[in-house]
């Protein structure tokens, strides 16, 4: 495997509050990293730094190892941000994921609409293409934002708590779709639920002011304590999951 990009001694802050301190990490191509950690630990901030939305106070993100361009990054923010009463259709939202490769005068032609249809088909949204957002369920909405993030055919996909509103019965289906996408792109996914996602991710990164990379999908309470990552591992009865063994 080769490195897609690397984070080099990044310190990031909002005004004077330092959120990330001296974070260094190399992200491998086609990795599927679950980013876990306590609230306020800097998970979302890390994504913003990678996206170029937040300039680090010191250090930098080096995109050169895998020749990654900023417009090759797909982003799915926490769903609460979007205004679902805004007059926009599902298709419009999916199309917006393709603005990255266009200028401010970008037009959505037949080619773009065809591509958007393919993405909607893949994520089971085709029947909803002309629906307004306020007519969708939480899980459907989440898939719309996922479709937006991947419609620009990104090489890196950043997901911030993508399954918060997904119905438990659709959760496995949702992660299966991500796994499929992982064949074509590297994924970094923020989640509060390390137990559930461990069945799908390839590795973990624990972000708590700084970062600890754990190159396996099996992570134990002990690891988390070691990393200073005070989160609880949750096991769900009805959802496919792996039972984690303790490292010796």
């Amino acid at each position: 495997m080769s490195t897609l990009f690397s984070i080099e001694s990044v310190t990031a802050a909002y005004e004077t509050k330092v959120v990330l301190r001296d974070v260094t990490m190399a992200i491998e191509e086609k990795d599927f990293i679950g980013i876990i950690g306590p609230n306020g630990g800097g998970k979302t901030t890390l994504l913003k730094v990678i996206l170029g939305l937040l300039k680090p106070v010191s250090g930098r993100v080096d995109y050169s190892p895998g020749d990654l361009k900023l417009n090759e990054i797909g982003y799915m923010p926490q769903v609460a941000q979007g205004d679902t009463l805004f007059p926009v259709t599902v298709e419009d939202v999916v199309l917006s994921g393709m603005m990255h490769s266009m200028g401010a005068t970008g037009r959505m032609g037949r080619r773009e609409k065809k591509h958007a249809s393919e993405v909607m088909e893949e994520l089971g949204l085709m029947a909803l293409a002309h629906q307004a957002l306020n007519e969708l369920s939480g899980g459907q909405l989440q898939r719309v934002y996922l479709a937006r993030a991947v419609s620009g055919s990104p090489r890196l996909l950043l997901l911030d708590e993508p399954a918060t509103f997904v119905d438990t019965s659709f959760e496995a289906d949702f992660y299966d779709k991500l796994k499929l996408l992982n064949n074509r792109m590297t994924i970094m996914m923020v989640s509060h639920d390390a137990g559930t996602i461990s069945a799908w991710v390839k590795s973990f990164a624990c972000v708590n002011g700084t970062i600890f990379y754990h190159p396996h999908s099996k992570i134990t309470d002990e690891d988390l304590r070691l990393y200073g990552c005070p989160i609880q591992l949750v096991t769900h009865g009805d959802v496919p999951h792996v039972v984690l063994h303790k490292h010796n």
Partner: protein
């Protein structure tokens, strides 16, 4: 001679209605979808300060209103972007301040302010050729701006944070949009009046949003609804001698009530059909 006057008056009214409709369709859809209705009310009333200043200085009050309208629009966008003050409070203060400044200047101006009432309540009779030209220009600028940057503007309005991932100019676009909106509002004051203009901008877009959620359709159809409502309002106010702005607003609200009823009837029909499929 009288015929010619009446003829040109009709033409001017229709032109005024057309331009007002275009601005209501474009700026109105933007305002309603971005939830800037209260902000727009603030801009309108703040610009009354400029009207008063215009009277006091003996310049065209519309020029004063344009300066105040543009200034308050950009100022409020700036303040809300910095997050330094609660936005609704800032708007409330600016709203009252504009009216206060306007009233003080008009009080200080010697003599009688002849068209003052027309600025408050709107009147097609006082609209000058210059006003029409200015409205025409802002309409054309709004059309070109929206057509050129349609997707970018749509996505910035919908989800600004996401838009920042594909354009570095989110703030610039927001300032231009809000600035053009402010100008469009101010230039409609002569016709619709400070007090009524907010209805002109909000009702048509809200009527169309009852039936569709497609942004472009809302722009086009709310322009059409505005044109019918405004020219209808003109005609009624002409024949009945009622104040123009108030008549237009009443007509538009009636349209909204009818649309609302039509929608709920359609919904009941659909539910009935679902209950009894055959």
């Amino acid at each position: 001679m009288e015929n010619i006057f009446e003829y040109s008056f009709v033409i001017r009214s229709l032109l005024g209605a057309l331009f007002a409709s275009i601005t209501a369709g474009l700026a109105g859809t933007y305002i309603v979808s971005r939830r800037l209705v209260f902000l727009s009310g603030g801009i309108t009333h703040a610009s009354f300060g400029g009207i008063g200043l215009g009277y006091y200085l003996g310049i065209n009050p519309v020029v004063g209103a344009a300066v105040f309208g543009l200034g308050s629009a950009l100022g409020m966008e700036y303040m809300s972007a910095r997050g330094r003050m609660r936005e609704d409070s800032a708007i409330g203060i600016l709203w009252a301040l504009g009216m206060a400044v306007g009233i003080i200047f008009i009080y200080l101006t010697p003599g009688y302010a002849p068209n003052l009432m027309s600025y408050l309540f709107g009147s097609i009779l006082t609209v000058t050729n210059g006003d029409l030209v200015a409205l025409g220009i802002i309409s054309v600028v709004l059309i070109i701006y929206t057509a050129l940057f349609y997707r970018t503007l749509l996505y910035i309005s919908f989800d600004e944070n996401y838009a920042r991932t594909f354009t570095r100019h989110v703030d610039l676009f927001k300032y231009i949009s809000v600035g053009l909106t402010g100008l469009a509002i101010v230039l409609n004051i002569r016709m619709a009046g400070v007090i009524m203009i907010i209805a002109l901008l909000t009702i048509p877009a809200n009527i169309i949003m009852l039936f569709t959620r497609e942004y472009l359709r809302i722009i086009i159809l709310s322009t059409v609804v505005s044109f019918v409502g405004i020219s209808g309002g003109f005609a009624i106010s002409w024949f009945t001698n009622l104040p123009t702005g108030a008549t237009i607003v009443t007509v538009l609200v009636l349209f909204w009530v009818v649309a609302r009823l039509a929608k709920s009837l359609r919904r009941t029909n659909r539910i009935e059909k679902m209950k009894y499929p055959l």
